[in-house]
């Protein structure tokens, strides 16, 4: 690993791979730092290694990642797997953990392509072993070929729930229940967006095909489910919910939930990039221009880490950011940049037609996000309940970060990744304010674990 690169890409998902490939191909010295052992990100995780059968079960959209990874491998971009980034700052100094060593490297331009994470939505019992995210189920399937042994209950609201149910159905997993918590009002709210969504009809067709095939396989989707709870003594034993005015209970050792995904903003937060609240996507994202440039000079974002638009749009945004960085590095002219950008802009515009519809249809209601049950643990690390957060607000702490200092919620090992959103919603709800005015927890380096030994050795080496 050199001490300096013209361009550094952080993250090996579609956006990072696309940016690194196009920049390296135009002659920029470019390195890609990836936390994972192989390129693909979460969406195309282990796509190079996945055996034939597994790839088939996961479907054609997953296999699409293969060519993206092949093109990246064929480029002159340098790939650093198993490499975590614990800091980025305005001077474009990047703190890196690589092969057990910590070091600081620099770059003229940095692309943070940190991708998405599941939107954490606390509900009673969500900390029990046996409760996981739908995304976790997919990762286990893609990277280890691991599927539920004794069946699974799926619950929540969002397209990934349907996709996972379909993948599991094909792999022979017993789906004990599919609990759709999307409220009735969402269907009506989403209707005005339908004509535009038809321009990206392939997504709608896919959704309908998955639903039809699930129905044919005997998987019943229960609609308008509410009051989801997980119960058990030390591990999940049953899932309780309300459906058509009645309480139901299912025995299960595994529940996977999904309430959409949000950008993983901890690195851009720690770098000091300006962030905005997006009401339609119900998340914070780094502010950026049409090329992905953030509020800090030389730091770019692309892909779901910049705002949720899905894997294909992430790839196009990656190419655009890569082009702009190549232009800034003097490797392509302004004209070449603009010429090459046309095709990606067009494809991105077409791909994004589906988004307003999806965002309205799968809008998570405020009462779910603001955790109504005061006994529910919101901060998984410090075990702070919704009631404790409301109490802090009642005591005059009207801001998420103030509540954090007062209660310790968000101060555990995950640094608030799992509770920041819920805390903001609860604080807004309790104070009768809008969540858009809430502050996200301030991210600080080290963003990923760094032990004192690594830190001390770094100092000695650089002396």
């Amino acid at each position: 690993m050199n001490n300096h690169y013209q361009m550094l890409v952080i993250g090996g998902g579609p956006a990072g791979l696309a940016a690194a490939t196009i920049a390296a191909n135009s002659g920029v010295s470019c390195a890609l730092l990836d936390e994972q052992p192989a390129p693909g990100g979460q969406i195309y995780r282990a796509v190079e290694q996945a055996p034939e059968l597994r790839a088939q079960l996961l479907g054609a959209d997953y296999q699409r990642g293969k060519s993206l990874v092949e093109n990246f491998r064929a480029s002159r971009a340098v790939y650093f797997p198993n490499t975590s980034v614990w800091s980025v700052n305005e001077q474009r100094e990047v703190g890196v953990n690589y092969q057990g060593d910590s070091r600081i490297i620099t770059a003229d331009h940095i692309l943070i392509a940190s991708g998405a994470m599941e939107r954490p939505v606390p509900f009673t019992g969500w900390t029990l072993p046996g409760v996981m995210y739908a995304g976790s189920g997919q990762i286990l399937f893609k990277s280890a070929g691991a599927i539920p042994e004794k069946g699974v209950v799926l619950a929540g609201s969002g397209p990934l729930l349907l996709l996972l149910a379909w993948q599991y159905m094909r792999a022979g997993v017993k789906i004990k229940a599919m609990l759709d918590m999307t409220p009735l009002g969402n269907r009506i709210m989403a209707l005005p967006e339908l004509p535009r969504a038809l321009l990206a009809y392939q997504y709608l067709t896919k959704g309908m095909t998955l639903q039809r095939e699930l129905k044919q396989a005997g998987v019943e989707i229960k609609n308008l489910v509410s009051d989801l709870r997980a119960e058990g003594d030390g591990q999940l034993e049953r899932v309780c919910y309300r459906h058509r005015g009645r309480e139901h209970t299912i025995e299960t050792d595994l529940l996977m939930t999904h309430f959409g995904v949000i950008p993983h903003v901890w690195l851009t937060q720690a770098a000091g990039c300006r962030h905005l609240w997006n009401e339609s996507q119900q998340c914070w994202h780094p502010q950026h221009d049409e090329w992905g440039a953030t509020s800090i000079e030389g730091i770019f974002v692309a892909g779901d880490g910049a705002g949720i638009f899905g894997a294909k749009s992430a790839e196009y945004a990656g190419y655009l950011a890569g082009l702009q960085m190549s232009y800034a590095a003097g490797a392509v002219t302004r004209g070449e940049r603009n010429q090459q950008a046309i095709v990606y802009r067009k494809a991105m515009k077409r791909d994004r037609h589906i988004r307003p519809f999806l965002e309205s249809y799968f809008h998570i209601p405020r009462e779910i996000l603001a955790v109504q049950n005061n006994d529910t643990v919101v901060c998984r690390c410090e075990e702070i309940t919704a009631g404790q957060i409301r109490e802090a607000v009642a005591n005059g702490h009207q801001d998420s970060n103030q509540v954090k200092y007062f209660t310790r919620c968000g101060m555990g090992p995950c640094q608030g990744r799992q509770c920041a959103q819920a805390v903001a919603h609860i604080v807004a709800d309790a104070g009768g304010k809008s969540v858009s005015g809430q502050s996200c927890f301030r991210g600080r380096p080290p963003v990923t674990p760094l032990n004192l030994e690594q830190l001390a050795q770094m100092k000695r080496r650089q002396r």
């Binding site: 059968l53 072993p129 990277s143 030390g234 998984r380």
Partner: protein
Amino acid sequence: MFKQINDSRAETVTVQLNGNEVRVVAGTTVAAVALTAGLSFTRTTPVSGARRAPFCMMGVCYDCLMIIDGQSGQRACMTYVKEGMRIECQQGAGLIPGESQ
């Protein structure tokens, strides 16, 4: 909770899981090994002693912290198995260097 579909590469490694030798497929994460080996939990919390298991599988929730080769607080979902690796459930805040559980 989980089983492996019959597509995995034949190459295996042997690890110590809570003191028991287990043969596992090479190239998998410690978290995947714990979940397929039938562990019902992988740590207890420092605050209340509640049981926890791998949750997000992508390194953001820090709920899968385990003691790996004597070092506590390791994310099991971000650590890949190696021959002879010692994997243990973590009680509370884990160990300080040189201490044994």
